[in-house]
């Protein structure tokens, strides 16, 4: 069967060989951990503890009254040392709870739950209480994503195992090592939508993951007497960036287009990241909230690149030093993937729920180069998965021609960066488009 795919897109070097065969390794935090009160899209949490309080592993230490939010939990046991503004991986300063780790990892009582006998509301409440957010990078609270407006008919639950960003292999390793948990996590979601099909989409550059998931699914279907087990399948996707972008993934799997300005639910789909689904598995079958993250450490300047399982709140510095990162020769430190991640300027920041990877890139790996005039070669037009004209949008953005920018559908841009990637003139196309989109969004809010 040929692999499913979307139109246009690009083929960056995978650069996954550094870490794709490295088994997930557990690294415990050294010293204090910092639990950020905002690790998701939405309202930040307020601290539920005070300085001096003793906390346990799994204890909820931050929550919010707002609907769009997700609680945070302690990942160690020990004493709350400080609650203060610290540097967030996104570059801003925001509130974090610093916990002095006593190294004992005493836990609160965590009891498993049976999702198959629970009501829909109880399932969603459990997912919320476990602090689960989209772990692919955006960090949108999962319980909201799983509960779209009642009038939307959900036909597909798509588990995103594309992992189309170069370098990243954390989802790949999870699919290899925890395949059965992905399947069981998906079964929880399908309990909410018994009529929907559950499809796990994986790029064809990970044949071992495809096989592992198919085997795990076959085993589950054989053992389970759940009706929904029959609704699951594994789909092979073409290896192409941005295959894992929500709208492109939906198109690849279902050939449906999410209407401009609408949500996946408007196309009858809900997309969840692999690790998010595993977090759902843990929240029910082990009763544990989201406390760990698998981080890929990679790049030419990392001596021991690998996939590290760490407790949320561990510092970037500890992980970089553990993996033998050569900071002297590093030109760029990236939190997330090289196509959409954030370049960071300080490594004394904590791992949060969405920290998928840390990359130390050299000059050779980046091919950055000086920006020169656009030659209208049209490579960006052939690359844009949203079928836009990036070169025109770039020109409008730089000329502050916001009206023309909107007429040319600049607001449909998903900021995947394919246009900047292919540009032979090394123009910062997506950067100028992104800036204008923010400006227009801010004006609309007024």
């Amino acid at each position: 069967m040929s692999s499913l795919t979307f139109k246009k897109g690009i083929h960056p070097k995978h650069a996954k060989n550094f870490t794709k065969d490295k088994a997930i390794e557990y690294v415990l935090p050294e010293g204090d951990v910092t639990i950020m009160l905002q690790q998701h899209i939405g309202a930040p949490c307020s601290a539920l503890v005070k300085v001096g309080d003793e906390v346990l592993v799994g204890q909820k230490i931050g929550d919010s009254e707002s609907f769009v939010s997700a609680p945070v939990h302690s990942t160690v046991s020990g004493k709350v040392k400080k609650i203060m503004d610290v540097l967030h991986p996104n570059g801003s300063k925001s509130s974090g709870i610093i916990i002095e780790n006593d190294g004992l990892y005493n836990e609160v009582d965590m009891t498993p739950k049976d999702p198959y006998t629970m009501s829909k509301d109880d399932i969603l409440a459990t997912i919320r209480e476990a602090g689960i957010v989209g772990m692919g990078g955006a960090g949108f609270p999962t319980f909201i994503k799983l509960n779209p407006p009642k009038d939307k008919v959900i036909d597909y639950i798509i588990v995103n195992g594309a992992e189309c960003e170069p370098y990243l292999t954390s989802d790949h390793r999870v699919m290899l090592e925890e395949a059965d948990r992905v399947i069981m996590g998906l079964s929880v979601i399908l309990t909410l939508y018994p009529e929907a099909k559950g499809i796990i989409g994986i790029e064809d550059n990970k044949p071992d993951a495809i096989e592992a998931m198919k085997n795990a699914l076959a085993a589950f279907q054989k053992e389970s007497n759940l009706e929904i087990a029959k609704n699951m399948e594994v789909a092979t996707l073409a290896t192409k960036y941005p295959q894992g972008a929500e709208k492109q993934l939906i198109y690849s799997v279902t050939k449906r287009e999410v209407p401009a300005g609408k949500l996946p639910a408007d196309a009858g789909c809900i997309v969840q990241n692999i690790d998010t689904v595993v977090a759902i598995h843990r929240a029910f079958f082990r009763g544990r909230p989201l406390m760990r993250r698998i981080v890929t450490l990679s790049g030419e300047n990392v001596k021991n690149p690998g996939n590290y399982k760490v407790k949320i709140g561990t510092s970037y510095r500890q992980l970089i030093e553990y993996a033998g990162g050569d900071l002297e020769n590093t030109k760029k430190i990236i939190s997330g993937g090289p196509m959409m991640g954030i370049a960071i300027f300080d490594i004394d920041i904590p791992i949060i729920k969405t920290s998928s990877s840390i990359l130390l890139l050299s000059d050779q790996e980046m091919h950055s180069g000086e920006e020169s005039p656009c030659i209208r070669c049209g490579k960006c037009v052939d690359a844009c998965p949203m079928n836009l004209l990036p070169l025109d949008l770039d020109r409008f953005a730089r000329n502050n021609a916001n009206e023309a920018f909107e007429t040319y559908k600049g607001m449909n841009c998903i900021e995947c960066g394919s246009c900047s990637f292919v540009c032979p003139s090394k123009r910062h196309i997506v950067q100028s488009i992104r800036t204008t989109r923010r400006t227009i969004m801010a004006e609309r809010r007024k």
């Binding site: 209407p259 209208r376 990637f421 003139s425």
Partner: protein, 319 residues
């Protein structure tokens, strides 16, 4: 920690394509046609091409220096323009005043680089193909020089299209026209050599097949229909029109110029068909025997209009 880490907006990796790589590929693709031109026309052709190329790069350098702009001659675009201009000129004639043989390519390069390219904003902003605009300028300014062709293998010095226009008999076969033992501009004598270079550009994804295929196809169909309505099907006439003039060079190397061709697939097809129709109209019904340069520069002017009416449907918008 190194103080020199870069903090910038994503994406953090780029392809290793650059503008100069693209221009280098274009120059590589022009090598077969250039060598055939040198072989057929000898030293005079070498001089003409050398003068036009070097002077184009020089004028680009001079302008950017004088205007205190960053000097970008290393991107190779001026060299490509100069080379294409040289290939679009007739080789110098032995009996021609040699000052003229030197001055014509220099004036052409001056016009191409300074007037057509730099005065309109430099690379990416010219409204016409600089080499073709310069050729048109030279045809009007030095009509005799630009339309006098050297003899090839002591065969008549008239070009195939010239003979057809005069209503005369063409001495060469279509095969000879394809291989390149006929007279014409330096770069256009061998359709085969141009085709090799053109296929290289398509294989390297520098250009798409659309413009050359639709351009050449339109001319072919037009001439075919013309022959049917004028005394019966004449396949050799079609062959002469495809391989005998500047169509191949124009379709693969001039009409595909990024700056002066449309962005989208459908736009490129409209543009190419337009080039084909105008070329055939000029050749079959106009005063000039050859219409490729004029067809392309006329369609160059229509590109902003074509682009405006061929904005693709964005993903997720209504069909």
């Amino acid at each position: 920690m190194s103080e020199l880490t870069i903090v910038s907006s994503s994406p953090h990796v780029r392809s290793n394509d650059t503008t100069s790589h693209i221009m280098r590929d274009v120059i590589i693709a022009l090598i077969p046609a250039t060598l055939v031109g040198f072989y057929v026309f000898g030293v005079a052709a070498i001089f003409t091409v050398l003068i036009s190329t070097v002077s184009a790069v020089f004028f680009e350098y001079l302008y950017q220096k004088l205007m205190h702009e960053p000097v970008r001659i290393n991107d190779g675009s001026a060299a490509v323009t100069g080379l294409l201009l040289g290939l679009n000129l007739p080789a110098a004639l032995p009996n021609m005043p040699y000052m003229l043989a030197i001055v014509v390519p220099i004036i052409g390069s001056l016009f191409a680089i300074i007037v057509v390219k730099q005065l309109f904003g430099g690379i990416g902003n010219n409204f016409m193909n600089p080499a073709l605009a310069a050729r048109a300028f030279l045809i009007i300014s030095f009509a005799e020089h630009m339309t006098t062709w050297p003899e090839v293998d002591t065969v008549a010095s008239a070009t195939i299209l010239g003979s057809l226009k005069e209503g005369g008999v063409v001495d060469q076969s279509v095969f000879e026209a394809f291989i390149g033992t006929v007279s014409g501009s330096i770069g256009e004598v061998s359709a085969l050599a141009i085709l090799i270079g053109g296929l290289y550009l398509i294989a390297r994804k520098v250009i798409s097949y659309r413009i050359p295929v639709f351009y050449i196809g339109t001319v072919g169909i037009f001439v075919l229909l013309y022959s049917i309505f004028n005394g019966g099907l004449d396949l050799s006439l079609v062959g002469y029109h495809l391989f005998g003039g500047g169509l191949m060079l124009g379709a693969f190397f001039m009409a595909t110029d990024y700056t002066t061709s449309p962005m989208t697939s459908i736009g490129q097809i409209i543009f190419a068909v337009g080039c084909g129709i105008i070329t055939a109209l000029i050749r079959l019904f106009g005063a000039y025997p050859e219409g490729v340069s004029f067809a392309i520069i006329i369609m160059n002017l229509a590109v902003p209009l074509i682009d405006r009416y061929t904005i693709p449907r964005a993903f997720g918008e209504e069909k």
